[in-house]
């Protein structure tokens, strides 16, 4: 059941699509340093949105869901760092 605390699903989808579009734009328009930061931030936000907004399992264990988001954010940050350093 959808609880009142949940983010509305269309809003989650809209935010995910917006972040995807912004990520694609950043990858073509920005220079390496801001591109790396932008892609890391947008990818981390998307991963968190997907887990919190779509995945119903996250209600069952906040700790495991938080760890999953942290892991995804870490991988996104590493991808962004590689872009920022190597272009």
């Amino acid at each position: 059941m959808h609880s009142s605390r949940d983010i509305p699903l269309p809003l989650v989808l809209g935010a995910l699509l917006l972040a995807t579009g912004l990520g694609l734009l950043a990858s073509t328009l920005l220079s390496p340093l801001p591109r790396g930061f932008a892609i890391a931030a947008l990818s981390g936000i998307k991963a968190a949105l997907l887990v919190i907004g779509f995945m119903r399992l996250q209600r069952e264990s906040t700790m495991l869901a938080g760890a999953l988001v942290t892991y995804a954010v870490l991988l996104s940050a590493l991808a962004g760092l590689r872009i920022a350093l190597a272009g």
Binding site: L13, S43, L50, R56, E60, L78, A86
Partner: protein
């Protein structure tokens, strides 16, 4: 044996997971993320060690098509989430499964453009690219088929389980995108 019947409020009437299923799902989700994380980590390291090969690979990748594929997969995840939250599970799962098949079609179109050039390149990055995206594609195809099968006879537990796995597959793609395509 009772034949399960779809209702609009399946998930509303029962918990998401029962009898240790929750733990099994977490293990499955984490194992997917750890395996793909290791592969993506290897891709990032090889990209740092061999920037010219990474540049040659990027030159062959179709970024707009990857964007469309991402939007398709996210839309599919939206329908799977609707099903898991108890809204018309049968139709939403069918829409999610169809979205998955559309993603497979888009990726095959991308491969048909990429393979002729990339096959001529001798690079571990290219091998890793096909390993990661091909492994993910196999997951999408497999879980999309399960989504469609569950749509045929949905029960609360089946819907919650397959939707969770689908979101894990979505999440993996959201990590593949920055590492392989946007870099």
């Amino acid at each position: 044996m009772n034949a399960p019947t779809p209702t609009a409020s399946l998930a509303a009437s029962r918990p998401v997971a029962e009898g240790g299923m929750e733990l099994l799902l977490w293990i499955l989700v984490w194992s997917e993320l750890v395996v793909f994380g290791a592969l993506l980590g290897a891709f990032m390291i090889l990209g740092l060690l061999d920037p010219p090969a990474l540049a040659r690979l990027h030159a062959q990748l179709d970024l707009p098509l990857a964007g469309v594929a991402t939007a398709t997969l996210l839309g599919s995840g939206f329908f799977a989430a609707r099903a898991a939250f108890g809204r018309q599970p049968r139709w939403n799962l069918a829409a999610a499964g169809s979205g998955g098949l559309a993603f497979v079609a888009l990726k095959l179109v991308a491969y048909s453009h990429e393979i002729p050039t990339l096959a001529a390149m001798e690079s571990r990055l290219v091998e890793l690219y096909f390993l990661i995206t091909g492994f993910h594609l196999a997951h999408v195809l497999f879980v999309a088929a399960i989504l469609l099968a569950v749509a045929w006879r949905p029960t609360a537990l089946r819907v919650a389980t397959v939707a969770t796995i689908w979101h894990a597959v979505d999440l993996v793609w959201l990590l593949i995108l920055p590492v392989i395509y946007l870099g």
